[in-house]
């Protein structure tokens, strides 16, 4: 696991052009929304002193007036954010393909090739996303409904802490479940990319692999999430010490935010690289094959069906 963790980091670092590209795309989306917001603000602030005052001071009275007098147009702005998010998710189906293609080549694929291969994988990844999102929705629904039912049942009880214990445990279960499903989703992408199999079969195979404890896949996922939390803590700690009153502070704060988001993109590549390394070590440590190499039908069958042989891929 530790070897996969470190090797994944190495591959992720090596894949910095891809990470940079993906971050720039996210920046493009952010810029699109920021531009829409700026247009909206310029319209509703209508040349008032608030256009200048907001630079120094997020005056709550300005926010109150925006909320009350321009709430309808603000909701339209939120709708545009929702549309951007939907588009971004679709684009990232392709980008996930690019990441998987890159890590399968140990980060040695050219950016253009990564994106091209990613596009080839987009249809199967799209179907996988639907399967994975359905699984996450079911998990969320089940945990949420159970927590709601328990909280409701205990609300008439004398102990205040009961509901907090229920909510806390439910949150923990959900987080662990979401981490598990994320790991399954990632492994399913890797398997689907390798075997070109159907989404449901790849997902089921990955689920069995992760749940069976194959090569400590789930602990590796948790370790990677922990790395993400560390990065977030570093970001927050530094952010708390940046004064956002002056030009330098405001610019620095935005720049620091972008550095953090770039690190997040790198982390995403790291996730896949480490998990790919784990799979590769599990079965075929010596012979990585690129996409397009023929996969023996027997191995493909193992990949999609056998819990005993966790990863007979490629």
């Amino acid at each position: 696991m530790s070897r996969a963790f470190l090797q994944g980091l190495r591959v992720a670092l090596h894949s910095w052009p891809l990470a940079l590209t993906l971050w720039l795309v996210s920046l493009l989306f952010a810029a699109a929304f920021a531009s829409a917001s700026a247009c909206w603000l310029a319209q509703v602030l209508d040349g008032s002193m608030a256009t200048r005052r907001l630079y120094r001071d997020l005056d709550p009275n300005v926010l109150v007036d925006l909320y009350h007098h321009h709430g309808a147009s603000f909701r339209l702005l939120l709708v545009s954010a929702g549309l951007l998010a939907a588009l971004y998710v679709i684009v990232w189906v392709w980008f996930h393909g690019a990441i998987v293609a890159t890590v399968r080549a140990n980060g040695k694929l050219k950016l253009r090739d990564s994106l091209r291969d990613g596009l080839d994988l987009a249809p199967i990844f799209g179907r996988l996303l639907v399967v994975a999102a359905s699984a996450l929705t079911m998990l969320s629904g089940a945990v949420g409904a159970a927590a709601w039912w328990l909280v409701r049942r205990s609300s008439a009880g004398p102990s205040e802490m009961t509901r907090y214990y229920i909510i806390g445990i439910a949150l923990l279960i959900w987080l662990m479940g979401a981490a598990l499903l994320t790991a399954v989703h990632d492994h399913a992408r890797l398997r689907a990319a390798a075997a070109g199999s159907r989404a449901l079969a790849a997902y089921w195979s990955a689920m069995r692999f992760v749940c069976a404890g194959g090569e400590l896949a789930f602990p590796l996922a948790l370790l990677l999430h922990a790395a993400g939390v560390v990065i977030w803590l570093v970001y927050q700690t530094a952010s708390a010490n940046i004064s956002v009153t002056g030009r330098l502070g405001i610019g620095g704060s935005l720049l620091w935010g972008e550095v953090f988001l770039f690190a997040r993109v790198g982390l995403r590549v790291w996730f896949f690289a480490a998990q790919h390394e784990l799979q590769a070590n599990a079965v075929l440590p010596a012979s990585f094959k690129t996409r397009g190499t023929e996969v023996p039908s027997s191995l493909d069958a193992f990949a999609l069906g056998s819990p005993q042989l966790p990863l007979p891929l490629e």
């Binding site: 700026a38 509703v44 008032s48 907001l54 926010l63 007098h69 102990s159 405001i250």
Partner: protein
């Protein structure tokens, strides 16, 4: 003993005797005195009570009947006047707590030896709702003449509802409020005794309450008044005798889990009844209380009672929190309440303020809620801003800030134009409108008046109002009179617009034109009189200010120039617009109406200013931040 010493002792004795023997005069007229024996059964959530009521007719007309509030009957069914106004909330509550209705049953009424129970009948003076039993009438054989008294004995049983609003239980937490047959107020020959509505509070006469409370021995009690004795009954119960003078209601709470935190602020014994998990929040309540008690004492006068009890509601008891009763207030917090969210402090300040306006001044809350809630909200805001900083007194969390002004505007603008402040609470459109006008708009009106008169003059007026009218049930007109007298100027124009009307105050800078004057050209040009000439430019500045609302107030208009100078003019606001034209060597950069923000009631501050060349940095900052937030959210989504 020497004769001189003996003589001195005798002198001291004779002078001291009357001083020590005479009780201080009562603070109030003490119209209705109650002696109540009550026993709580936590298992059945019931209270059985026996009440001896002595009422004195202090009016000039005889009273042929008595009228009682039986407000716990508001929770008797889903069609009472209170419950019918909140159908969705009632439906959720009834579905969640089936069969947990509450109410009060009168089992017997006696005048002397005569049983008059059959004369006791429910009436619906406000809306004729046959399902509402929150007011009852008792007709009498002989009227109670002016200066005469009458004594009644009433037996009653209370079933406490699951807490829906203010009174009830979230067992083992009990809020026993509005729980006994309580007389209305006999004014001008008729009873002022209204039904219990979703938007109304209370009105009753002052008196002395002697209440005997019997509860299980492990229960901790909080109540109006002070304890005179306590005994263990030896049967698993204890009885606590309580006396409260010059109060107009009596409420109590009971919970075996309460942790008692005692403190003293000035000369008042403060008793906090905290839930076990909230003890760490006691310091926050005390911080708010200290801020409030010290300032109320300085600004308006002393708190009249020796004790104050603050109740932290139990789990599921939030509906009983944030309420005021004489010498008793309920608040509310959680163990995780962030420091920057000053809910416990605000509740402590607000509910303590009620001890003055609701408790001691005791206006008719049903008919003029703003006199209590509004004045209280204004003073609360002032105290919060002073004690916790003017920029973020209510909220200072994750970069979000909220001070008194923003908080009041947030409440006001939600339903600004439905009802006038002076409208009785039950006659307003809905609860949102009630809260908007009775709390927030009144606070903003007083802020505006404060800025108009000056803080010292308004504070002196409120002090005079409190000093003159405490324990006397003043009306809104009494308040207006005191303010005008103290301010020394007629303010009818102000009150008519802000208290009696639904108009909005909104000034706006509609136009700011700055044009460089061309050199004067023409047949009879005198070079010195021309516009821009040589290197010296001259500008024509035109500012148009509009009054977009109905409310007219005098207002300042400032025009700022590129050399940093500023010029001001005043406008009486009578017309719909006002134009300023001037010629200047400097170029005007901005125009602002109400540059000092004195018109707190202004409904839209965004249109109060206009710049020649609007800034972009503020927009870029905010839009950039929002962009980053959206980008972060997008990354979260794609992490799956």
């Amino acid at each position: 003993m020497c004769p001189v010493a003996l003589a001195a002792c005798l002198v001291v004795f004779f002078f001291a005797l009357p001083l020590s023997a005479a009780d201080p005069p009562p603070l109030s007229e003490r119209v209705a005195d109650y002696h109540i024996d009550a026993r709580l059964d936590p298992n059945s959530r019931t209270v059985t009570g026996h009440e001896v009521l002595r009422w004195r007719n202090t009016g000039r007309q005889p009273a042929t009947e008595l009228r009682f509030h039986l407000y716990l009957n508001a929770f008797d069914n889903n069609r009472t006047t209170l419950m019918a106004a909140l159908p969705e909330a009632v439906e959720r509550w009834a579905e969640r707590f089936p069969g947990e209705w509450g109410g009060i049953d009168i089992t017997s009424v006696r005048i002397g030896e005569q049983d008059v129970s059959k004369r006791f009948e429910f009436i619906r003076p406000d809306d004729g709702n046959p399902d509402d039993r929150t007011v009852a009438r008792l007709s009498m054989d002989a009227p109670v003449r002016p200066r005469e008294s009458i004594e009644l004995e009433i037996d009653f049983n209370v079933r406490l509802p699951r807490l829906f609003m203010r009174a009830g239980h979230a067992a083992p937490f009990f809020v026993v409020a509005q729980w006994f047959p309580k007389l209305g107020v006999f004014q001008n020959g008729e009873w002022n005794c209204h039904q219990y509505h979703a938007t109304t509070e209370f009105f009753a006469d002052f008196g002395v309450y002697e209440v005997s409370l019997t509860v299980p021995v492990d229960y901790v009690l909080g109540h109006t008044g002070t304890v005179t004795s306590e005994r263990d009954n030896g049967d698993g119960t204890k009885t606590v005798e309580v006396r409260a003078e010059d109060v107009h209601d009596f409420a109590w709470v009971a919970d075996p889990r309460f942790q008692v935190v005692d403190d003293r602020i000035d000369d008042v014994r403060v008793r906090l009844l905290m839930q076990p998990n909230h003890v760490s929040q006691a310091a926050r309540y005390l911080s708010g209380l200290r801020a409030a008690m010290e300032r109320y004492g300085d600004w308006f006068g002393p708190y009249a009672y020796p004790t104050l009890t603050v109740v932290d509601p139990g789990p599921g008891g939030a509906a009983g929190g944030g309420m005021e009763y004489p010498m008793l207030m309920t608040a509310g917090t959680t163990w995780w309440m962030p420091r920057g969210l000053r809910v416990p402090e605000m509740l402590a300040v607000h509910e303590f303020g009620h001890q003055y306006w609701y408790g001691m001044v005791a206006n008719n809350e049903f008919e003029e809620a703003w006199l209590d809630e509004g004045i209280n909200s204004y003073v609360e805001g002032r105290i919060m801003d002073e004690a916790y900083g003017p920029e973020a007194s209510y909220l200072d969390l994750f970069g979000l800030r909220l001070n008194h002004l923003a908080e009041a505007r947030l409440g006001y603008l939600g339903a600004a134009t439905h009802d006038p402040i002076a409208r009785p609470a039950h006659a307003v459109l809905d609860r949102e409108s009630y809260q908007s006008v009775a709390y927030s708009k009144t606070a903003l009106v007083l802020e505006t008046l404060d800025n108009y008169l000056g803080n010292d003059r308004l504070r002196a007026a409120l002090r005079a109002y409190f000093q003159k009218w405490r324990f006397r049930h003043p009306t809104g007109n009494d308040w207006r009179t005191v303010v005008e007298e103290t301010a020394g100027e007629p303010l009818g124009w102000f009150f008519e617009q802000t208290l009696d009307g639904t108009g909005v105050l909104d000034y706006a800078v509609a136009r700011l034109d700055v044009r460089e004057l061309p050199p004067l050209a023409g047949r009879r040009v005198v070079p010195e009189a021309s516009g821009s000439r040589g290197g010296e430019k001259r500008y024509k500045v035109e500012v148009v200010v509009e009054r977009r609302g109905e409310v007219r107030m005098p207002v300042d208009i400032a025009v700022g120039f590129d050399d940093g100078s500023e010029t001001r003019q005043s406008w009486d606001g009578r017309d719909r617009w006002y134009r300023i034209e001037m010629t200047s060597r400097q170029r005007a950069e901005y125009a602002i109406v109400d540059p000092d923000g004195r018109l707190a009631l202004d409904a839209n501050r965004l249109n109060n200013s206009r710049m020649r060349s609007p800034g972009t940095r503020g927009i870029v900052r905010l839009a950039g931040r929002w962009g980053l937030w959206v980008q972060s959210a997008l990354h979260l989504v794609t992490g799956f």
